[in-house]
C-alpha cells in the first residue's frame, strides 16, 4: 500500500476525535476544523517518514500544540480588546467552552449527554486534554504525557481531577 493511502487511512481514523477535541477546546466549529487541518498537514509534511506506529502520538502532540496556540491567541486578543483584568493569568483554562454543538444536533441529544458535552467543554484546558486523550482516544498515560508534553504524574493529576469534577456534576443526571 502506498504512503499516501496509509496516511489517508490513519487520518480517517483520528479525524473525528481530533475535531471533537479541538471543538471542545476552542468552542468554534470553523476554528476547530482549521486546527485539525493544520495538524494533518504538519504530520504529513514533517513526520510522514516516521514509522506508522509513531503517527498517532505525534499527531496528537501537534494537535494539542495547535489548540494551546489557539488559546493563547484568543487570550491575547481578549486582553487587547476585551474587558479582562491584566492580572488574570489563568487564560489557558478560562476560554469559554461554549455549548459547541450545533443547535440542531443539540436538540436531538438526551439531557445527560448534553450535560456531559457542556462539562467537557467547560473543563480547564489541561484537564480537558488529559481527559479526552485518555477516554476518547484511548491513549495510555505515557502516550498522553507525550502528546501533552508533560510528565506522567501531571497527566494522572489532570485526568483524575477531570473525572472527579465531572462525576460530581453528573451524579444527578446519571443515577
Amino acid at each position: 500500500m502506498s504512503l499516501e493511502a496509509d496516511l489517508n487511512r490513519f487520518l480517517a481514523g483520528v479525524e473525528k476525535k481530533a475535531f471533537y477535541m479541538a471543538r471542545a477546546a476552542v468552542g468554534d466549529r470553523d476554528e476547530a476544523l482549521d486546527i485539525v487541518q493544520e495538524a494533518m498537514f504538519t504530520l504529513v509534511r514533517k513526520y510522514s517518514n516516521k514509522d506508522e506506529e509513531q503517527w498517532r502520538p505525534l499527531f496528537y502532540r501537534i494537535l494539542q500544540n495547535k489548540i494551546t496556540d489557539s488559546h493563547r491567541r484568543s487570550s491575547f486578543r481578549r486582553r487587547l480588546f476585551g474587558s479582562r483584568s491584566e492580572d488574570d493569568d489563568d487564560s489557558l483554562d478560562e476560554i469559554p467552552g461554549l455549548s459547541s454543538i450545533e443547535p440542531a444536533s443539540r436538540a436531538q441529544l438526551d439531557e445527560s449527554t448534553a450535560k456531559l458535552i457542556d462539562l467537557v467543554a467547560d473543563l480547564p484546558l489541561r484537564q480537558q486534554q488529559a481527559f479526552l486523550l485518555r477516554t476518547l482516544e484511548g491513549l495510555d498515560v505515557s502516550e498522553t504525557a507525550k502528546a501533552m508534553g508533560c510528565s506522567q504524574g501531571s497527566v494522572k493529576t489532570h485526568y483524575s481531577r477531570a473525572v472527579h469534577s465531572m462525576r460530581e456534576q453528573l451524579q444527578e443526571h446519571w443515577s
Binding site: 499516501e4 489517508n8 480517517a12 466549529r29 476544523l33 498537514f41 504529513v44 509534511r45 510522514s48 446519571w174
Partner: protein, 117 residues
C-alpha cells in the same frame, strides 16, 4: 478500592457516550474533514535523492568512483599524464575498504607492467 473501581466504570461510561457522540457529526463537517484529509495525505513530500538510505548512497558513491577510475585508466595517453590513482582515492572520499584495495591492486599492476614487458 470500590471508589477506584466505580471511577473506572464511570470513565468507561463517559468514553462510550463521547465515542458515540463523535460519530454523529453533521454531514457538512464530515465532508470537510474528508476533503482536508485527502488533501493532506496527497501532500506527502517527494523523497529527495539525498534522503536515500545510507547503503544505497554508499553503493552509488562507490560505483561512481569506480567508473571514474576506469574512465581515467582507459583514457590515458602519452600526451596526457595520468592522474595518480592515489590522488583519485584522496579526492573521492571513499569509505569502502574493498574498493580501496582494488584500486591499490590496480596501481601495483601498473607499476609492475614495464618490468614484465
Amino acid at each position: 478500592m470500590t471508589d477506584q473501581k466505580s471511577e473506572t466504570q464511570f470513565a468507561e461510561e463517559l468514553a462510550q457516550r463521547l465515542n458515540s457522540e463523535t460519530e454523529e457529526l453533521p454531514q457538512a463537517t464530515r465532508l470537510r474533514l474528508q476533503a482536508m484529509r485527502t488533501a493532506a495525505a496527497a501532500s506527502v513530500p517527494e523523497r529527495r535523492w539525498w534522503f536515500l538510505p545510507l547503503p544505497a548512497a554508499g553503493f552509488i558513491a562507490s560505483a561512481a568512483v569506480l567508473a571514474l577510475a576506469v574512465f581515467l585508466n582507459f583514457s590515458t595517453t602519452d600526451s596526457v599524464p595520468m592522474l595518480p590513482v592515489v590522488d583519485v582515492v584522496e579526492l573521492a572520499v571513499v569509505q569502502d575498504l574493498e574498493l580501496l584495495e582494488q584500486l591499490e591492486f590496480l596501481a601495483w599492476l601498473e607499476e609492475g607492467e614495464p618490468n614484465a614487458g
